[in-house]
Symmetry: C2
Amino acid sequence: MKTLLEAIRPTTFIESQKLRDYLDLDLTLASETFQHTGSFKFRAAYNLAVNVENDGILTASSGNFGQALAYACKLTGKKCIVVMPETSAQVKIEAIKSYGATVDLVDTKTVKRSDRVAQLAAENPDFYVASAYDDLFVIDGNASIGDELANRDFDVIISPVGGGGLISGISKGLCRNGHQAKLFGAEPLLANDAAKSLKAGEIVSNETEPMTIADGARTLSLGKHNWEIIKSGVAEIIEVSDEKIAEAVRLLFGLANLKSEPTGALTLGAVLAGKEKFAGKKVCAIVSGGNVDAGIYAEILLSNK
Amino acid sequence: MKTLLEAIRPTTFIESQKLRDYLDLDLTLASETFQHTGSFKFRAAYNLAVNVENDGILTASSGNFGQALAYACKLTGKKCIVVMPETSAQVKIEAIKSYGATVDLVDTKTVKRSDRVAQLAAENPDFYVASAYDDLFVIDGNASIGDELANRDFDVIISPVGGGGLISGISKGLCRNGHQAKLFGAEPLLANDAAKSLKAGEIVSNETEPMTIADGARTLSLGKHNWEIIKSGVAEIIEVSDEKIAEAVRLLFGLANLKSEPTGALTLGAVLAGKEKFAGKKVCAIVSGGNVDAGIYAEILLSNK
C-alpha cells in the first residue's frame, strides 16, 4: 500500500503574471484542484484510511471530504459511509457513489448531521467515525501541504477556513519545518464563526449551517483539535462576502485559467477584501478545490455581465 | 535575459482518475493552460524574441500567438504589431493590448491576413515578420515541449493542429531525444486541411478561414516548414467535430477540473471520436491553451443541459 507521500499529488503552484499585474501583488496560487478527487481533502482522507485499523469509516461531509474518503477507502480496501446535506452539489454526491461508498442524505434543517452520524455509528459499531476536520489523522494528512509550502519563500500564506482542518494542518506543517510565514484564514462572511472565535479566544458556533456559496465552509464551528492549533498559529481570519468570493472565481478563470470551486476562491477573495495588508509581501493563496457543478459555475461566470 | 528554458513554465501533467475511468483509457493530460500567457505559444514566441536581431516583430495571429509574442517582446524590450481577425475572442485582443503591443484588426472576409501583414511589413521595413507557425524559431521553441514529453513513457501523443507549429515542434523534440511515441494530430473537422494534406501527400488549403469553435485552428493551411516535419513525423490527423470538441471541454471541466479553450480540447475530442485505436496504450493529450471568453465557455458548459 502506498504511503501518504507516494499517494498524494504535489500541489500545483501557479504564478500568473496577469493576476499579479491586476492585483499589483506578488501572489502565487497553490492549487489543490488537481489533487486526487479534486481537492486537498484527499491528503487527509488517505492518511486516515491507511492509519485506522477498522474495516470501515463513517463520516459527515459537505462533499469534498466524502469524495476523498470514498476514494481513499477504495484504494485501501475499506468500507465507507458518507452523511451529506441534501443541499450538497450534485456532482459531489455522484462522485462519492462512483467510488463505491454509501451516501446518506440528510435534511439539515430538521436533523443535525452530527445526530445522524451518531445514529449510524450505533448501527455500525465496527466503523471508525471520522470528522472531516476534527481528527488528528486528518490534520496530519493536511500537514503534508504545509511541508510543501515550507520549501518556498513565502511571507504570507492564506488558507480557506471551514472546520479548520486545512489551516490547522498547514500551521502544523509550517511549524514542524520551522517556517516563519504568517498564516491567514479566509472565511465566508456568512459563516464567520472562526473569525469570531479568534477574537473571542474561544470556539464560537454558527447557529445553523450557513448558506454561503462556499459550500465547503458550511460548518457550524471549528473542531476542538483544530482550534488548539488555530488559536496560536493563525494571525487573522479574513471575512469574505459571497460577492467577493464570486469575483475571485471569475478572476481565477479569467486571469489564471484556473477552475476553482467557490470555497477554493475564498483566499483570493480575502486578498480582494483588503490587499493593502499584503503589499510588498510574497503571498501564497491556497486554492483548496475545484469541484463545482457546471450550472453554478456558469452562473457565477455570467453574473458579472 | 533569460534563456528559453529559464523563461518557460514546464507543462503541467494531470492524471485524472475520473477521466481515466470514464474513458477506460490510460490518459495523461499535458496542460499548457498555465504556461505564461495561457498557452504553449509562449514557448515559440520567447524563442523568436530572444533570437531575432530586429527591434520589432510583426505577426498575424488568431490570438494566443499574438498574446505570447506581445509578452515575449515586452520581456525582451522589442516592439510588436499583431494582425488579428475581427472575430477573435475579445479576451485575447485585450490581453495583447495590455502587454503594450499594437493590435491591427482585419475583416478576414474581405482582406486576407497575409495581405495585411505584407502591407504592414512594407510600412515597417525594420520589423521581423513572424509566422505564428511557419518559422524555424517557432518550431524550435515548441520543440521544448517535445523534450519534456520525451522524459515520460508515452506510447501515443496527441497534439492539436492548426498551422502545424505545435505538432511539428513536438515531432522535432521527440525525434532529437530518440523517443518512439506515435504522434497523432487532432484537427477540427470544419478545418481539416491537415488531414487532407497528409492523405494527399502535399499541402492542401482551406478556401476560407473555417469558423470552427476551435478558434486557434482557424488557419488556411499548414506552414511549409511544418509540413516538412509533419509529412513524415505524424502518424495520422484525426478530424474532430465541433460537437465533440465541446463535449471534450465539458469533460475536462467536469472530470479533470481543467479549464480549456476549445482548441485545447481538440485532443480529448480526438479520443472521444475513436478511442478504440488507443486501447491499452499510454496516451498523452496536449491541452494547448486555456484562453476563452467567459460567455463562450459558459455557453459550452450549459449546452449539455
